[in-house]
Structures are given as C-alpha cells and as structure tokens.
Subunit: 308 residues, 4 copies
C-alpha cells in the first residue's frame, strides 16, 4: 500500500490510519457514545502507555472527539445544545477542585487568516471575569464562590517575533492560573470532518500541529499547570489531500510499482508545501463555530465550579 | 492525453493548456517583453476573432499578464516600481479621452475571507476624489483638469442577497462613470503564479470566474461603459491541482488506461468542490499586494489624464 | 433662556426641548406605554401636520422611541426580549401587505469608526434570504410563502466618492424591494440616552442627521418605496454637550447677560466642530446592541409575513 | 482663576497650565528647535528634580514633543520626513549600546475602538526580525550585526481579565529584551494638538494615563529595562474640554464667584465620566499616523544600531 506521510491533528484520524487492528492495539482504549437528540457522536480515545503513544504518534492522554454535523449549519442560538455537550466534556477533563479556580483561555492562531482565526474569535466571546472578581470580589456577581476567566491572544510568530510558548509561559508565571484552556484551528486529513468536529484533549498542544504550525509545546510539562486543548479542523493540508486522492486511485491498480510513485509524488508535491485547503464559506463558518465553542467554555467554567 | 477540466482565470494559462501549436492559433496574437530593471515579464495575448475566443475559452479582447516575482516580497515602498509599470498597462487599455474622466473602481470579493479580500483592500487605499471635485471643483487640488475616482465594495451574494451585477449596474446608472476598473482575486492553475502575477484585460469580468465565483457579467455589453478588469491569482482550485498532479504522474505511465482514470477522479474529487488552496502567509501577501495595485491605479488615473 | 442650537436626532429630545407646553402642541399626538417585564418604555410621537413638523424640526410621520436601559448590559441572548418588542414596533410601521414582501436593509455608517459602525454590524447578522428564494424558491426553507431579505452596506462618502443616496437609489431601482429598512447610529443631546434607546420611524432618513452626517435624504419621496429608519444614539455632539453644560450653569445666574454668552460660546466652540463624544466601552456596546437590532429585524421579517 | 482638574497626558500642556513663570521653574529645563523643511517644532522638557516633578505632575525624565501639523494630512509616503525626525528623537533617548540590541515594541490600546487603536496599528506595520535572527542569524539579512525587533499587542483588561503590566512583565521576563518601546494613544487638553503631536519620553508609562486608562506602570523601575514611551493625542477628555470652555467664559466675568462654579460643574459633569471626544475622520487619521510612527521605529532600530 502506498503510505504517504500522515498529516492530521485529529487522534480519531490517526487511529483510523493505523488500520483495522487498531481497536485491539494494546494501551489504547476506545469508548463511543451517541447523543441522539443533538446528533453528536463522541469517541474517546485513551492512550495509556508509551508504546501506544508511539504507535499512534500522539502523546499519552485522553482525546475526545465530538462529531456534530449540525455545527456548520446556521442556527439562531449558535447551537447551544452542542455548547452544552462540549461543556460536559470540558468538565470531565478539567482537574477536580474543591475551590474556585482561575482559568486562562489562550486563543492561538492568526486573526487575519480566516481559517486560522478560530482561537482569536473564541476569545472574543468569552465572559471575562478575573479582573472584576479581583477588584470587587465575587459579590460583584451575587455569589459567594466563582471561577475567574482570563484570556490571551498571543498572536503569531511572524507578527510578534516571539514564540507563542514564550508569551504564554510569561503570562502564566505572572498571573498564576490554575488551569489553561488552549483553542486552535486544526488540520484534518479528510474534508468531511472540517468544521463539524471538536477535539478536546488533556495533553495540551504539541509542537508543529495546528493550521499555522505556530506553536511550541504548550503542555503541563512545559508550563507547570494542566492544559486542556480544544481544536476544530478548519483546513486540510494540501499535500495530504493530493496524496490521499492518488492513493485511492493507485490502490486499484495493482500492476503499478508503488515505490516509484511515492518518489515521484514527493517531487511533484513540493510546490504544495505551506499551502492549505479550505472551504469558500470559511468566514461564516468560523464566526458561527467560535460562538459555539465560547459558549461551551462559558457554561463549563461558569456553571460547574460554582456548584462545588 | 488526459485532459481534466480547465480551471484558471488566467489567459496565459489558458493559452498554455491549449498546447504547442498555440502560438500559431489563428486569431490569437501574442507579444512579450521584459522590463529588466524591475524583473517584470509582460505577455500580451490579443484574441481577435470569435473562433479564437472559442478555442481559448475567453472572450475577444486584450489580456495583459505581468509576471513580477518580487511582488510577494516585503518592500518598504510596496514595490512602487511595479505600480508604475501597472499604471502604464492600465493606461494602454483605458479608452482615449480628450477630457477629464470619471472612473469607478469596483473591489469584488469578500473582505472576511483572506484570499478573497484583494478587491476590498485595493479599494481601501485609493485616492478618492469624485466627491471633492464635485463639491469644490478641481481647484481643490490646485489644477484645472482632473479625473474623478469613486469606489464601490459591493460585497458578496451570501451577505447581500443580491448579485454583484445588480448592485454595480444600479450604481453605474446613478453615478454615470466614464469607465469602470474592476478588481478581483483570481484562481490560477499553478501555485507558482500565485500572488506574483497581475492580469489586466479590457474584456471586463465574465460570469463564474474569480475566487468566490461571486459574479455575473460585468462587461461593457452589460453595463454600457468600458470595463477594465485587474486580477491577481491568490488561490488554486483544489480539484484542479489534484487533477494536475495526477495528470503529471499518469503521463509517464503509458500502460494506464486513461479513460478509466478520468472517470474515477471525478468520483474521488467530488469532495473538493467549493474548496480552494492558498498559502499560509496569505494575509501579509494580500495586504502588501493590494497596496501595489492601489498605487498603480492612483498613478494611472492621477497622472495621465492630468496631462491632457 | 440661553437657547443653543439643537443637535439631536431623537424626536423625543426634540419634543422635550420645545418645553412644557409640548403635550398640547396642536398636530402632535403622544402615546406612552410601558412593558413592565422587559422594562421598556415606549413613547410614540405622531406629527400629523406641517405646522407641527415645523415646530418640532422633524418631518410628519410616526416616531417610536423605545427606552430599554437593559440594552447596554451584557446578556447571553443579546436581549432577545428587547428584539421581540422591537419586532412588534417594526411590524406596526411596515406597510400592510397581503403577500410576501422583499425587504432591503441598508446599514449606514463607517465600519472603521466604532461609534458609527452600528449599521454595518447590524447588516452582518441578518438572515439573508433573497438570493436563495430567487434561485430555489421558498421550498428551500420548507414554506410556501416567505419574505425576502437583502442587505447593503453602502459605505461613507470619504471612501466611495459617492453620496449614500446615489448608491441606495441605484440598488433600489435594480432590485425593486417593496420596502427599505435603514439602520444608523444617531447623535443624542443627553448622554443618558446613549445606547439604550431605539428610535423607529416611518419618515426615512433626513439629510444631515446621523453620526457621520453621511447622508442625503433616504425617504419614500426620494426612493419611491416606504422607508423605515431604525436608529440608536451612540454619540453626543461635542458642541451640544458643552452648550448644554453651560446653559445649566448659566440658568442659575440671573445676573448674567445671556446674549453676550451666546456670542462668545460660538467663538469658543468653533474648535468642537466635527468632534463627537462617546463612551470608552463603545466597541463592546455596539457589538451587543447590533445583535439585538438584527434579531429584531429577523423576527419581524421572518415571522410576521410568514403568517399572512 | 478657576482651576479645573488637569487632564492631559502631554508634558507640554502640563507645563503650559502651570502658568507664565514656568520657564523659570527650578529643575525644569526647556529646549526648543524648529525643522523648517518639515515644519516640525520640537520642544524638549527635562524634569531634573523631584520638586520639579511634583510641580509638573510628571515623573523626572525627558519629554520630547514634536508638533507636526502635516501629520494629519494624507500623503503618499505617509510623511516619511516626519518618520525620519521621529527616528532621530527615539535614538537620542535609547540607551547607548556597543552591540546589537533586542527591542520589544508594545502596542497598548484597544484595536476595536478607533481612537484607541494607535498602538495595535503601529505594531501591525513594524519590521519584525527577532525570530528570523534567532533562527537563521543576521546573515539572513546580509549583515553581520543587527538589532532584533519583537512586538506585543497585550489587549485591554476588559477583554483579557489581566492588567497590561502583568502581561508585559511576563513577556519581558521570558524574552529578555534590552529595551522597551511602548506606543499609546493619549488624551490632550486641547483639540488643536490632536493627531499632529508626538510625545516621546524616557519615563515609560504611568498608571492611569492613555485613552483607555488601561494601564499600570510600565517603567524601568517596574520592568527592569529602559522604557521609551511614544504617544499621540487622539482624544480630548470630555469633562476636561467642557471645563476648559467654561473657564474661558468665566475668566471674563469677574463678578462671578468662582468657587460656586467649581462645585456646580462637578455636579453637572458627572455624566461625562468615561466619555471622550474625538474627530469624525479618526479612522483615516489613525491609519495614516500609525504608518508614520511604525516607519520612525523601523528607521531608528534598523539604521542606527547597524552602524555600530
């Protein structure tokens, strides 16, 4: 089989590409459930061992994928039902706490590039409370306990000259949040997952992933606090999709000498480096989807911790 | 030869895809020259007959292509030397006039989608004078004769519910410009032309071209005034590039039954409809290139007519 | 009494400034009601005669003012309860029709100037249907009758070189809507009305009103179709507020020779021309308020006509 | 004399309001010069002692004010002649260094509020080099020594929940620049200085200044590195201008009991808190002026250090 280089940020797709036997891969557990009313399919991939992590090409941890086809459709309430389910999954991954927490939400990506603007746009719609609680106390919101939300849009290296990880680390050290939630636009392998899939993971962000690859590690190891990453695939890597299309064709032609093909495609596809593919209505989609994610975070941080 | 559907807005590429004999295609004249100092290669394709228009898949008229590799590079003066050469080509295509003219510049495309924002961004940087001249006379600019520039950003159908041609036609009828200059982002067939090629034509805009396909005809026939179209390729159509990559591979495998391939690729590529491919630094590129084009228009309309 | 020049776009304020006896001004009827649950006070000023129009400095017609203090506050549903009441008032002013109508919404103002961006931002959030209904019929929305919404952001004269009225007139003639809804940011006389008052009128837009004064008449007389205008005061004219402050002080100093003061203030305030005053959080307020107004229009045009 | 509360960020205005004797105020030196060709008047106020700092209401240090009336006018080169003079003044205030320096430029303010967007827009046009030099060395720019520029847009507290000083301090500690340049929009006392005056100071930023008051101290004392602040007045505080207008009127009425007036105005002007006044073309002005400032920084950091 021709095996082009895998280029996906989704654990779900990484698992699929390993092949049939994956469900029995040692060290990988998979749970699936379906929310019928909201038409959301949830797949939870738990990578429990280093060997499994190596096989999957993803670090150990929990990867939740919510497939919500309705998310791309216009909706007057910005799919609040999806936000509700997203909030549940965020809460599952957040570290347990007996007391109020301070949550820093980091919106990665480039506001000026539509397909990469998810992070900044999510941050625009958050209900920011840290500065109010610190100045006036929780009484400002008529409650005795309350989590604090702060938010950062670090920008991209081409515009700052600094690595995102440098900026985030500095802000974390100064403001001491209890947990980070990092938002980013992702690359998928298949166009059919674009903008209708949410991945939530407790492994943080790994170097070299994301639409703009504008990232160093943002992990508990590097930052000293737990890092939840929320991502939505908004683009398909150009070289990947061409490779996939070729592969499909070639699979059916057994007489072809595949090795020769692989060599050639690397020649032919060099021009596709640093190119990505996205839909023509990406602006409207990003705008809508960012509201859905923001509201999920607002619900998770607002409601849950309050009840503790 | 496998002959996938042609998807390019560039006359230069249309000509290339016709094949070797094109230089002798009756009814098509080609002129080429090279500005050494600015490293700009200009190709002028003149389609003189209906038959030639049919063969080329482009209407009769003049198509000037400026290939300026420096255009994608940062430059403190936004490549004023390219703006100067662009101004010369615009002036060649503008109808001769003994007197001042009123020029309406129309910036097509969607400001919110980075790769489609060329038209709106060009319009942002024009030197708008019509309202001043009409209210205070040309004396406001210390001259006795002066062209007037007005500008329109009609938006895209998904946001207006109206066809671009309806909006432009209404504004033309109310404000009676002498000539239109229409700016749009184009689709190219090859990634190597992206953002470094300017096409200027006196045929206006044809339905179904451009990045967002957000256009009906904007031509002298439909609007009643001459229409100069200026376009820069900012995207490659996803299905096209996959087709091209396949074609290159398959050309070398004579044993393949090409017909079967063509059928199959149409199946496999259905998911690529409404997808486009663009570079990861498209925001910075569009910002820079739009200044170059604006300045070309400012020079052409400002300087030249003034000398009459 | 020192009587500085009146500078307000609100009929409510114009009425107040006429003085105590206004409720008995012949030709002016006033109705007031209060929606307790939503805390919205509605004042309807009906100017029935030419004489009354002259005394009020406003054309004959109906002016509805909704005072909704909650509107400036953040709200997760963008104050849908206010949108509902706004929809009712829009429907009252819309011409009765037995059949579907085509409504063109025009967002006046300058997107780049925060306090003047209400119109463009309202247009961003409308549910645009005209192009869908025209291409696929009302069946696309699973209904047999349906109004069509289209929208236009004409821009400001400094950027287009054209008067707004020229652009709107051209588009109206080409697309033949049954009715226009025009949105604009207004100037108020008092800071306490900023961003919490909506004025809806069936008189259209008069020259010289609005934040940017970027307007000629947009009226049934000039355009040939009924024009509903919706405005929200987002700024106070700088000269007005200084004049008002002075007046308050001077009222209490009977010994002052007021005529001398008036002369002087015109001298002193010349520097305030073309200045306006607005709040420091105007960006967040405009963003929220524009959602409230968009939703009001979506409800009015969507729900009501459907039931006919 | 009625003496309303001073509200200006300009040392020049603070000096004027102290009165006639200021030129002889001990501990304050003033230098003035005039660049005839560029029509730029430069006033350098040096506050040398603590007593003088107290009298002026500004910390000890050097305050350079460039009055450049041409700056508000459109210009095809964005007033490069002013950028050149600005670069000279920046270089005078920069700490001397024998070697390359790393400069972090911080753009304060709120991108969404036009009059407060100076800082973010200046940052947009900088020539960012730190990441390139760190990855590829100065050879990437064909030189053996080169300063590094990085840039940060920290956002405003209402959107981040964090104080600007927290964010800047964190980033400074992580990235260790040699010097900071901080850009902000200022409040002036007089409308005639708006957008045509640049203040450059080596005292950094003091709490409570700037358009949005979105700032804690950003000073050498708080951050550990020298801080150059560059500001341009884009607004006039509303309460200030009303107070000034009143004062002018009242000065001429000796019979008035000024104390009573002062009390009253505080009552009347309460509604003006958190309001500011700005010009109607502020968007175009900020766009142009930000290019002038960016280019001044690009020249200063690029040219000068290179020559060492």
């Amino acid at each position: 089989m021709v095996n082009f280089q895998m280029r996906t940020d989704l654990a779900l797709e990484a698992r699929e590409s390993i092949g049939e036997a994956d469900s029995e891969l040692r060290g990988v557990r998979v749970e699936e459930y379906y929310h019928e009313e909201e038409d959301i399919r949830v797949t939870k991939v738990m990578i429990d061992t280093k060997n499994a992590a190596k096989a999957m090409g993803k670090p150990m941890g929990i990867y939740v994928t919510m497939e919500a086809p309705a998310m791309v459709e216009p909706d007057e309430d910005y799919h609040r039902e999806i936000s509700g389910r997203l909030a549940e999954e965020i809460l599952e991954l957040l570290p347990q706490a007996d007391d109020e927490q301070s949550v820093l939400v980091v919106g990665l990506g480039n506001r000026e590039v539509t397909a990469d603007a998810l992070g900044p746009q999510v941050v625009d719609n958050l209900f920011i409370t840290r500065h109010i609680v610190r100045e006036y106390g929780t009484a400002a919101y008529n409650c005795s306990k309350m989590n604090q939300i702060s938010a950062l849009e670090p920008g991209v290296m081409a515009k700052t000259g600094m690595e995102t990880a440098e900026i985030v680390k500095g802000v974390v050290e100064q403001t001491s949040p209890d947990v980070l939630i990092v938002i980013d636009a992702l690359a998928a392998r298949s166009t059919k997952r674009l903008n209708r899939t949410i991945q939530i993971t407790n492994t943080g962000i790994q170097p070299g992933s994301g639409v703009g690859n504008h990232r160093n590690a943002l992990t508990q190891e590097s930052l000293g606090v737990p890092v939840i990453a929320i991502g939505i695939p908004t683009v398909v890597d150009a070289a990947t999709i061409v490779g996939d299309a070729l592969e499909k064709l070639l699979e059916e032609e057994e007489e072809l000498e595949n090795v020769r093909y692989r060599e050639r495609q690397q020649l032919h596809f060099a021009e596709l480096n640093n190119m990505y593919m996205t839909g023509k209505d990406i602006d409207a989609v990003i705008k809508r989807v960012s509201f859905t994610v923001s509201e999920g975070i607002n619900i998770a941080i607002g409601e849950t911790f309050l009840e503790h």
